[in-house]
């Protein structure tokens, strides 16, 4: 991989004052990540319990041992408890990502050519993951996608909870059952993401460890540095 790592930052963005070197995953981010993991676990497990009371797909009924809450009211209690953790933590995460420039740096730009190159590499099992600090195009799409799905699941959740108080918002979706189905599909997308995310994190253990310890320290400025150059080795695609 010809990716210039974050080490090759230009001198003008080097830190002006001495401070603790930033890590790949700064502490606030790690805390929010694991709070989110717990919140998602609660929301999905209890959501499955709520779903079971009026299934959308006739063949799909989540078994009792996998859902959270033995009775309907417990499922509801967990869901409306977990929503605060998921929602508030999510807002904090979005604010952090925008304010520190982390989103801009990590998730953008996403280039079409880069996507094809990464997918090609992945299909030929040539995907290297030697620089944890830089996401490839597929990772960028998946992370950005799951953030957007997370936002949509909160919006549809609010519409299911308050279809009358938020009737203007709910009207966008044309009908209560449509909102339910979108909410359900968002859940399915998040579950699919988690399966891939957890599998890959375990296959590349240093990425999993990094989310606990913070990972390698980043020389130069913390997360606020310039956007990394794209993975594609063509010279014209660099800024």
């Amino acid at each position: 991989m010809s990716t210039p790592s974050v080490k090759s930052l230009t001198p003008e963005i080097a830190p002006r004052r001495a401070r603790k070197p930033a890590r790949l995953h700064p502490l606030p981010l790690r805390i929010m990540h694991w709070i989110n993991a717990i919140a998602i676990f609660i929301m999905i497990g209890s959501g499955w319990k709520i779903y079971n009371d009026d299934v959308i797909l006739g063949w799909l009924h989540f078994p009792d041992w996998i859902v959270i809450g033995k009775w309907a009211q417990y499922g509801l209690q967990w869901h409306f408890f977990g929503m605060w953790i998921f929602g508030l933590n999510g807002i904090a995460y979005l604010a952090y990502g925008v304010a520190t420039g982390r989103f801009r740096q990590k998730l953008f730009p996403i280039r079409l050519r880069e996507i094809f190159a990464t997918v090609g590499d992945a299909l030929r099992f040539r995907l290297t993951h030697d620089d944890l600090a830089v996401y490839n195009a597929v990772q960028k799409i998946l992370y950005l996608g799951v953030i957007l799905v997370g936002i949509l699941i909160v919006i549809t959740g609010l519409c299911l909870w308050k279809p009358v108080q938020f009737s203007e918002l709910a009207a966008v979706f044309h009908g209560f059952q449509v909102i339910r189905i979108i909410h359900f599909l968002c859940m399915a997308a998040i579950v699919a993401f988690i399966l891939v995310h957890v599998t890959l994190a375990l296959l590349v253990p240093q990425s999993f460890v990094a989310m606990i310890t913070g990972g390698p320290t980043m020389r130069g400025a913390p997360a606020l540095a310039a956007a990394p150059a794209p993975v594609a080795p063509t010279p014209d695609s660099s800024q």
């Binding site: 709520i50 779903y51 009371d53 009026d54 009792d64 041992w65 959270i68 809450g69 033995k70 009775w71 309907a72 009211q73 417990y74 509801l76 209690q77 967990w78 409306f80 408890f81 605060w84 099992f125 909870w161 308050k162 279809p163 009358v164 108080q165 009737s167 009207a171 209560f176 059952q177 339910r180 296959l203």
Partner: protein, 263 residues
């Protein structure tokens, strides 16, 4: 055709695993017989059944969850828009008959005799004289074609009519600054709503469905229908209406369902 050497599978380590591991643990491996596995699985299953008594029921957990549910009551009350109307629909979208739901099956509904039935009034109400069905059915009617949403997730559009609850409460001299309107039903079901909901323009004491008197399973002769609460808040077969400042748990809230249940 030459057979190409197979690439190592993705999930297999590049170096082969030493066979010595197997030798060292031969005893253990031999001990794992079918019966042992079966026994182990069964005890795991038993453990799962034991844990099946759900952490939600632990007193500390349950009181935390209920505290959050009570907090959510307050949040919902703050979010409530007093004169914001729920979407209404056209008569062609109305589902007939309405969908039945109660804490028992439809076969077990005990019909109310409209001739001898009386509505009792209690609490902070000036004129507590009981009402007969005939008297109530003579009051001016309001029609609502609104969506019924059940906590389970299903919904349907229904066409309800009957006296507006606010107008009725004003007529009998109820204290509109009280906190709750509490309903006791003929099947001993209890339900209560906050006063803001009771005074909402789309809250009625329904006597008719799709222009005809409500059928027995759906609450004849009198039931509540509000556009701003989940289905279970809409008490059927109402026997007593009480205006009160005392919060009392209701049939479902006692069992842990959210009390406010606003939509």
């Amino acid at each position: 055709m030459a057979i190409r050497p197979r690439k190592p599978p993705l999930f297999r380590p590049k170096k082969p695993i030493g066979r010595s591991v197997l030798k060292e643990h031969r005893k253990l491996i031999e001990a794992i017989d079918r019966r042992g596995v079966l026994r182990g699985t069964l005890s795991l299953g038993a453990l799962a059944l034991l844990t099946g008594c759900d952490v939600s029921e632990e007193p500390a957990v349950q009181s935390t969850l209920r505290a959050v549910s009570a907090w959510n009551d307050g949040v919902q009350s703050a979010l409530f828009r007093k004169v914001h109307l729920a979407p209404t629909f056209s008569p062609s979208q109305v589902v007939k008959p309405p969908r039945f739901n109660a804490y028992y099956d439809i076969e077990n509904v005990r019909p109310v005799d409209g001739g001898s039935w009386q509505l009792e009034l209690a609490g902070r109400i000036a004129d507590k004289r009981p009402w007969t069905a005939r008297q109530i059915y003579r009051l001016p009617e309001q029609e609502l074609i609104i969506r019924h949403i059940c906590v389970e997730g299903w919904d349907y559009i229904g066409q309800w009519s009957g006296p507006n609850l606010r107008a009725f409460l004003e007529r009998v001299g109820a204290d509109l600054s009280a906190k709750y309107v509490y309903f006791i039903c003929n099947d001993d079901y209890t339900e209560s709503i906050d006063m803001a909901c009771a005074l909402h323009p789309q809250t009625i004491l329904a006597t008719k469905y799709a222009g005809a008197p409500i059928a027995d399973p759906f609450g004849y002769p009198l039931r509540l229908r509000t556009s701003t609460k989940l289905g279970y808040k809409n008490a059927k077969w109402i026997r007593t209406i009480e205006v009160t400042n005392d919060f009392r748990e209701t049939f479902w809230s006692k069992q842990g369902f959210n009390w406010f249940a606003g939509i």
